[in-house]
């Protein structure tokens, strides 16, 4: 590293002429290039993966770094599943794997060998909506719609979790089977953020589907 002399040169040139602007902008690039050389990243590693997506067997060859989310969106072009924060905080990427909702952004595609994945595209179609999709439309459970596929996948799994007797933070008697309630739905949906603030309509939609199923 010879940053001090780079700086001297830049400073001299800056004093000498307007051309120094070029040197100022070039210096950081030079430093960046050096950093890359020092760390010389190993080449990407490819791996093959076979899983079922929305009932169809799929085989992919992906960089091991590929998340399940990126495999779905970039490789299989199932762009219904959304990338929000990409760190498991917003829930926009929620899909259902072997019957359980997960954040697809925090899971590597190569770790899903043999799994069965359901995305929003697998729940229903425009001509044949899943009851949860229909309820979101009816109750206006969205505004911009970006978080909606994640909300709907999460909501479908939430109702299954309550029916399976899995308790939550707001369940009163933890040894008893959880009861369907607005509080339960709100607590269980807390991993899905809606920045438009459609929460009350989302809860109404889920409550309606829960009632029909009961």
């Amino acid at each position: 590293m010879d940053r001090p002399s780079d700086f001297d040169l830049t400073r001299r040139e800056m004093l000498a002429s307007g051309a120094a602007v070029m040197a100022v902008t070039a210096a950081p690039h030079a430093a960046e290039a050096e950093t890359q050389v020092t760390h010389s990243a190993p080449p990407p590693v490819l791996a093959e993966i076979a899983f079922k997506v929305n009932g169809k067997p799929r085989t992919l060859k992906v960089d091991t770094r590929t998340t399940l989310l990126d495999a779905l969106r970039e490789h299989l072009h199932l762009t219904g599943t959304k990338k929000g924060c990409d760190h498991g905080q917003c829930g926009a990427c929620t899909v259902i794997v072997d019957g359980r909702r997960i954040n697809s952004c925090l899971s590597l595609a190569v770790m899903h060998q043999g799994d069965s994945i359901t995305t929003i595209e697998g729940l229903g179609t425009p001509g044949n909506l899943h009851p949860m999709q229909a309820a979101f439309v009816k109750h206006d459970g969205y505004q911009c719609g970006y978080c909606t596929p994640g909300q709907i996948c999460s909501a479908v799994a939430v109702l299954d979790e309550i029916r399976a007797g899995i308790p939550s933070h707001v369940s009163g008697d933890i040894t008893a089977a959880p009861r369907m309630s607005t509080d339960e739905i709100r607590e269980r949906m807390s991993g899905n953020i809606c920045r438009c603030g459609a929460y009350s309509n989302i809860v109404e939609a889920i409550t309606e589907v829960a009632g029909k199923r009961a």
Binding site: G88, P167, H169
Partner: protein, 316 residues
């Protein structure tokens, strides 16, 4: 994210041996914390050993009357287990107070214990952090420290352990079972598992390189009433500012452990003798020697009041 090679391990002992002899290797199970940190290049493993196929996902009764929880039991399944709900309700409650439904479906028992002790400056790679880059300094000390440790911290680090589950495990005197790269096994009391930061905040547990957690064992049930009260900035899906795990018996005796106040789950056994006298003397002993910052001094009265609420509920 840096490129890495990937393989699935065939047995716990093989996984441990592989991890010890492969440079830059890390285990991956649920991956919810590791992948988050890999994306930010805070964690940069060259090789990932996937342990998900190791059949460590059972919860079994032990001959001593306790439970042996496989390392790969998901947080959702542990919280929902009927025996845990009946005999170790504090553990169910702690698990359900943590993270989101999606994360609990992936996160494992061992992974929960091994999530990084962290603070916002650990995540911000533009800032110095002795945990992320040993010797670089601590930006949290003198920085925004509202959520950070009030006790057991050091001049090098004031981060807090974020787990709720681990606080309940500490309360219950769990044992962490491991296999080492040479194939031998050992059992680590949870009290000795997580470390205080001292001068080496980058080392967070007592695990040796390559050592793999295979199970967490709970002693026989304590009876009593079980509580996990978590105080946080929003009602769900947020780290604790302060949490209180407690088991209270009919005669007022019991146990108490705290989350959100230190680099590890915080329990001081000597404080528990004061439980029948109430929250004030108990909290005073629990937090003796505390060094809060201006921003987080509120945690001291908050611990006392949260414990007070727990004890009032126990008497009701």
């Amino acid at each position: 994210m840096r490129p890495f090679s990937y393989q699935r391990a065939a047995s716990p002992a093989e996984a441990a041996a592989l991890a010890a002899r492969t440079p830059g290797a890390k285990f991956i199970a649920g991956g919810t914390n590791l992948l988050d940190l890999m994306k930010l290049e805070i964690e940069t493993p060259a090789h990932l050993i996937d342990v998900n196929g190791l059949a460590l996902d059972k919860i079994e009764a032990t001959p001593e009357g306790g439970l042996r929880i496989g390392a790969l039991v998901r947080n959702t399944d542990l919280a929902a287990d009927k025996r845990v709900r009946r005999d170790y309700a504090v553990l169910s409650r702690a698990l359900l107070a943590g993270a989101s439904g999606q994360l609990r479906n992936k996160a494992t028992t061992a992974g929960n214990l091994l999530q990084r002790t962290r603070c916002p400056y650990f995540y911000d790679t533009n800032q110095p952090c002795n945990k992320r880059k040993p010797g670089s300094g601590c930006a949290a000390i003198g920085g925004f420290s509202r959520g950070l440790a009030v006790i057991g911290a050091s001049e090098a680090c004031i981060a807090t352990h974020p787990s709720d589950m681990a606080v309940a495990m500490r309360l219950l005197d769990a044992q962490v079972e491991t296999v080492r790269p040479d194939g031998t096994t050992r059992s680590i009391p949870i009290a000795d598992f997580h470390r205080l930061p001292g001068n080496t905040p980058a080392i967070e547990t007592s695990l040796a390189p390559g050592e793999l957690i295979t199970a967490v064992t709970l002693p026989k049930p304590l009876g009593g009433q079980h509580f996990y009260h978590k105080v946080r900035d929003r009602a769900s899906y947020a780290f604790a500012l302060v949490s209180v795990a407690a088991v209270v018996q009919k005669d007022g005796s019991g146990r108490v452990a705290l989350g959100g106040v230190a680099h590890k789950p915080w329990r001081v056994e000597a404080a528990e003798a004061h439980l029948p006298q109430g929250a004030k003397p108990t909290a005073a002993t629990l937090l003796a020697g505390a060094h809060p910052t201006h921003d987080n001094a509120f945690k001291l009265p908050l611990v006392e009041r949260t414990l007070g609420a727990v004890l009032a509920e126990a008497r009701a």
